[in-house]
Subunit: 126 residues, 2 copies
């Protein structure tokens, strides 16, 4: 039996509110099953949500997040044309991520430089 979650459980685990999970559903980012009226989240939703939340941490909008998670499904498509479009988009995204990496590296260098300056100033004051 695969693990499932209620809203509350999943919200707790992912450190978001239940409101957020319902909102994401209303936006079509996730589509949990139902047990009567209650939502039942499966591994699939769990995985998608982790991707979405990671995207959000990088400042992506929800629709950008949606685009990405939807691609994970699309990769099993069998239509050549679809796959080609998908692949092109994935390469774009990868390029963007690499640019961000470089950007992040620069930022980190700058921050550590300022910290080093700070330490130098502190040493002078001794």
């Amino acid at each position: 039996m695969a693990r499932t979650w209620t809203v509350g459980e999943l919200a707790d685990e992912l450190r978001v509110t239940t409101r957020t999970l319902r909102f994401y559903e209303a936006e079509g980012l996730i589509t949990p099953q139902r047990a009567g009226a209650n939502r039942v989240y499966s591994q699939r939703e769990h995985a998608r949500l982790r991707l979405i939340l990671r995207g959000r941490r990088f400042g992506m909008t929800l629709s950008e997040c949606r685009e990405i998670v939807d691609m994970y499904d699309g990769a099993e498509s069998s239509e050549q044309r679809q796959l080609q479009i998908l692949l092109a988009r994935l390469d774009e995204i990868a390029a963007d991520l690499r640019a961000r990496q470089a950007d992040l590296r620069r930022t980190l260098t700058e921050v550590t430089d300022v910290a080093a300056q700070c330490r130098a100033r502190l040493d002078e004051l001794v």
Copy 2:
């Protein structure tokens, strides 16, 4: 003579609108000089803005951006207590950035994996 910019020039160069620059000023993120009523942006503002916009690309809020750019000024402070606080905060930020790097690396790996899957599927279809 150090280079200066008008709102329009700087907005064009940084690829934002003049509205954005005025908004940032209203929020206290930058404080351009004036030539009469007109704003005059110097290297200082130019540098701060580049930092701010980079922060924004990483999903930071404007107040988080403000905190960071203000630190670059604070590093020249001469009060020991101030410097220690600043340094502690900088180390926190650096740690956060490193976490983001790892996160970004994972994301990139996943994206390239999906792309590889795609390519495999495409090869099968030949």
